[in-house]
Symmetry: C2
Subunit: 339 residues, 2 copies
């Protein structure tokens, strides 16, 4: 039996068997020493742990997952990782996952439903479930996905699926009340992508609240929610002679602020501007933006918690968790100009 010369390079990771051999016990004992401390002699356990430490052994999550069918991993899919709006959701999800001892896998769907579906299919067998933030997948695809995996939606609702959503009904009413209190009798909504679930909820809420107040609303757009789209939106607002504009989100709103500034239009003197999201930067743009804040970090955390509940007990309670919003009043809104 010629001894095989060990290959050069990175040392092989030691396995449970290496530890067992070295410690003079069975592999199952090593396993128990790690996962079921009470069912192994204290002395044995100490010895095993010592050997494991010496060998730099750490249990392989992969092997565990294969055996148990549970990976202690959850996937979070967002439309665009770079978009600061999702930072809060990601952070919250990461925090909740870490607290639960679970690994978070992050996926970027590139705002592209097929990419989203592909990711779900690819990652599905390896994770315990999905948190889908602002999913663009059609209801039917969501239903299929939820048949094979626990799924929790964030800021999107779909029949039979659990979700965490912002309370846009109350939030939009707050916005409208705020504008009304400044004497605005009408405003423009600069809308975002038509497929955006949040977007349509916002629009519905604004309309309802405006109607209650006897205010006039006009919808413009759709605009791609990017800084650069602000120019077109701002120009449309000026064209309409509006005294106030509520934008699909802060990204667009800041673009609008910028354009208005360039065109010498005073904010809020001539036009008041409101956004959604309280995104990073909304408090230090000029003027600071009045915006409806969502508790995105909470949303991410609660979504993961809900998901784990759903994954571990098989209690499929497809409830909707509605998180309060908060109107942050800053410098971009003021009294309606007269005339």
């Amino acid at each position: 039996m010629a001894q095989v010369t060990p290959p050069p390079g990175r040392p092989r990771r030691s396995t449970i068997n290496d530890v067992a051999r070295e410690a003079g016990v069975a592999a199952s004992t090593v396993s128990r020493a790690f996962t079921n401390p009470d069912r192994v002699n204290q002395v044995t356990r100490a010895h095993v742990l010592e050997v494991a430490e010496r060998l730099g052994y750490a249990p392989s999550p992969t092997a565990r997952a294969l055996e148990s069918g549970r990976s202690d991993t959850v996937a979070l899919l967002v439309p665009d990782i770079t978009n600061p709006y999702f930072s809060g959701t990601i952070k919250g999800a990461e925090r909740a996952a870490a607290a639960a001892g679970v690994t978070l896998v992050l996926g970027d769907t590139q705002e592209h439903p097929p990419t989203e579906e592909k990711l779900v299919r690819r990652l599905g067998p390896a994770v315990d479930g999905f948190v889908l933030a602002a999913s663009r997948m059609p209801d039917e695809a969501l239903r299929r996905a939820a048949e094979l995996n626990p799924v929790v939606l964030v800021n999107r609702a779909s029949p039979g699926l659990a979700c965490v959503v912002a309370d846009f009904d109350t939030g939009t009413r707050q916005i409208v009340d705020h504008l009304a209190s400044f004497g605005h009798t009408s405003f423009v909504f600069a809308g975002g992508p038509p497929e955006s679930w949040s977007g349509s909820r916002r629009w519905v809420g604004l309309q309802a609240a405006a109607h209650e107040r006897g205010m006039d609303v006009q919808r413009h757009g759709p605009y791609v929610p990017m800084l650069s789209s602000g120019a077109a939106a701002a120009d449309a607002v000026l064209g309409a002679g509006a005294t106030a504009v509520v934008c699909h989100n802060d990204m667009l709103a800041i673009g609008v602020l910028r354009r208005l500034g360039e065109r010498g239009v005073a904010v809020p003197g001539d036009v008041s501007v409101v956004g959604f999201d309280d995104m990073f930067g909304s408090d230090f743009c000029t003027p600071p933006l009045t915006t409806l804040a969502e508790r995105t970090e909470d949303a991410g955390a609660r979504a993961v918690d809900t998901l784990l509940l759903q994954a571990r007990q098989r209690s499929a309670e497809p409830g909707a968790l509605v998180l309060p919003t908060q109107l942050r009043v800053r410098g971009s809104t003021g009294p309606a100009r007269v005339g």
Copy 2:
């Protein structure tokens, strides 16, 4: 043999065996149909794929990983997911990972070295390697980590490890030249955390460039790189009577801008302000910030590429990839005030 009644709830995911049975072939044939198309009859293959599709079968990455020892997964650890500075790195890494057909696992170290080490240990057995962004781990811990896993650092260097770093030497010289061209003969550096590798590189570069130019530099701080620390930094700058301040990063710089604004100090009339990172928001704060942009998205992508190379071939080339920086001149810098 009593037939076991299927349990209620989520349907079981079908396995390679289900497909094999249903298709009337061996499991190995199904396996080949997916991974080694040429080594199976075209007709058989078509049939197998059809059955697989019908059963909604997708190969389990977990089982594959266990067998092959490769998970096609890489981990990216960042100090703070929420920090917009890291968005670019994350995006780039995600893009490169997706392009390589690899899954990205994201971890937040909370700027806490022990958390970072714990994550490396926990994730190690399940991933093909680590990209550590702005790692705070001591060199010794990095060395140990790199023994068991391929590791690539971003904006951090450590003996024997591959890394992707920004060209701060050139970048800082650009900053200094820019200030000098405006007639500044001295400036203040508002420093960040002493453990920050980037921070010390920046300081070293600024000093060297200032020295070349015969300019005077003073270091203040350390300041925690948050908006709120800007107040203290700004006050220190005013106390020193400086005509220009270069800040550890944009977060701090924007905090400084804000404080200067509150105190009625004109920027750049009275004081010029420079940041690092060209973070999201740096172009729409007031005034827009002159800052040294790093190619963070590239850095993330190149780090992943390097990592995969290192993981797949065992060619351990611990080189440093130096990415160019670019000075973005905006409104926060101008001629030095006289007197």
